[in-house]
Symmetry: C2
Subunit: 382 residues, 2 copies
Amino acid sequence: MTPGSAALGHVRDRVDRALQAFVGQQRGVLLAAGDDLRPGADSIAGLLAGGKRLRPAFCYWGWRGAGGPDCPEIINAAAALELLHAGALVHDDLMDASDTRRGQPSLHRQFEARHAGRGWHGSAGAFGMGVAILLGDLLICWTDEMFHASGLPGDALRRGRPVLDRMRTEVFAGQYLDLLGQAAGDETVAGALRVVEFKTAKYTIERPLHLGAALAGAGPDLAGPGGPRAGGAGGTAGDGGTAGRDGSLAAAYTAYGLPLGIAFQLRDDILGVFGDPAQTGKPAGDDVREGKRTVLLAIARSRATAAQAQVIDRYLGDPLLDDAGTAEVRAAITGSGAVAECERMIGRHVREAIAALDGAPMTGEAREALAGLAVAATARDG
Amino acid sequence: MTPGSAALGHVRDRVDRALQAFVGQQRGVLLAAGDDLRPGADSIAGLLAGGKRLRPAFCYWGWRGAGGPDCPEIINAAAALELLHAGALVHDDLMDASDTRRGQPSLHRQFEARHAGRGWHGSAGAFGMGVAILLGDLLICWTDEMFHASGLPGDALRRGRPVLDRMRTEVFAGQYLDLLGQAAGDETVAGALRVVEFKTAKYTIERPLHLGAALAGAGPDLAGPGGPRAGGAGGTAGDGGTAGRDGSLAAAYTAYGLPLGIAFQLRDDILGVFGDPAQTGKPAGDDVREGKRTVLLAIARSRATAAQAQVIDRYLGDPLLDDAGTAEVRAAITGSGAVAECERMIGRHVREAIAALDGAPMTGEAREALAGLAVAATARDG
């Protein structure tokens, strides 16, 4: 076991148990409204059983790095991020018309099939969509409930709250930019990277670390509308009204989190085209089938020969893409040199992230865990 | 001006200003992610400019009734409910494929038109759906942000939090039951009333009152999974861990809120078929066109002659319903006696709601305001 998988495993099991306890309690509230809600409660529980718990892990180590003690309360607060993530995935799968998630049918497809199987009235697709919207909304709302019922002191929650707020606005803004770029046909690497900054780097790594730090009294200054930005004035300590700030720790988390987030997304981009379905929980070549506008594809386009570009254009967004087509697209992307370029970028960004931990005002244990997490989150075996 | 409209107007103007200030600040956060977010911010501001602010009014008077002082902080906390409501409406319009909201194109239609007008890539419908999902999510998340930044003391927020949580789980559960009943073809009056209990009565009236009361230290006991139920053991005071409970006030709010919620929905049902578009902000007969499974329609079906039932079945859910069809359906529903029956039910439920205020431990000013609100919320002129 690498230090990274140990750092992840240490948190994951406890996050799993916290989520199970929370969802079990919510099941009672749902069934009080009607026994018909059982399939919804079951689908939510099934979805939450999967996942690597990356965001809770970063939140936990953000807290520990700021000197917070190991305790069940921080696990509860960190686990709440997994509810937000599950809700966002349900809505994302709906928007992308994805058929699978974590090796199971996506939630809207589950309820579409239920409708079709029972011969109910109306459109099965509309029913699946409606249930997915509502259960995603529920999960997103439960984030706040679990966070505030975590057992952390009121002062800590008050410090963490603005970070959680900012994180959510940023992730939905990033997804909106993604939709818009896809519609408007922005195929530039710069456009794809801007989406990655908001939709992945801040959401998956920087803000969870900041949330942990803020809960422990060392959060970022969010007084300005945009907050700390990559390569900008990020992390200058300010006083936006919360106690116990430590600008230099929050700045180190930004300097670690943003490049690592890009590396993480690049790995995900590669897995989305080349990954093994048993590992990704998605069919082979799914990103190509769904026509996702990834950084990998933007780089491939920018480097492709005319013949390679033609292959990519022919299959991108083709819902009927088969194994032969997937193989052709893979060859074109690899042939363009985009995969090698992405691997170089991953290596460079991971080194940059780990270097940002040097000399940062955090505990040695947290520094080691975060260095391990950087490697684990971007490893070829996902 | 009636006492009810005065009680509503008193709160509405201040809620409007609080929402404007909050949304103005969020616009800055969104634009920091990219100037492309401007149309999204504009649509949100446009949607939030409308609305009767009923839920904030009930929250405010729930607080005042429990002895809370008039202050800007309770207005901020109450206004947060309007963000939840706006997000739920955006998602609701998408699920119902509604074209209009508050006299404007619904949000998904706005972005569908934007996509079509610019000749962007992909499906305009999918783009409109994606933007509506994301902006709805944002609004739902902002509920918590505005609530916690209201300026109310931490103790008050801690008491209010579980009520807000319960309210959200209940409303999404109610919407799920609605979808399910529609799909499974449940056309009973009892089925429609169960949906109304969760989707309208608790969400619009009972829980906003409970939230105000809990913020002021007189909230309901939510220790059981279902909480107080209409006609059940509702309102028995318990000690679920929050301070300063006053079971009899929370019970009075339930006894007022649940029948009033049913009356409010019945009025909405009548307006949805017979209302003037200038007043409802929706085209004439929109509920019929969308095939909504309302209590009014369930009563009409249960009383209709074979000929009347045939007319209702022919037009219900017909997206091409025109003025002549609307007139036919109206005649069939009226002829069945369902409208008169609904009017009788409205009158009976409003009287029951107002009677529940008698002798309840609340300030005289709040009792008068709530009696006025009961009339205003169910009046024929909407």
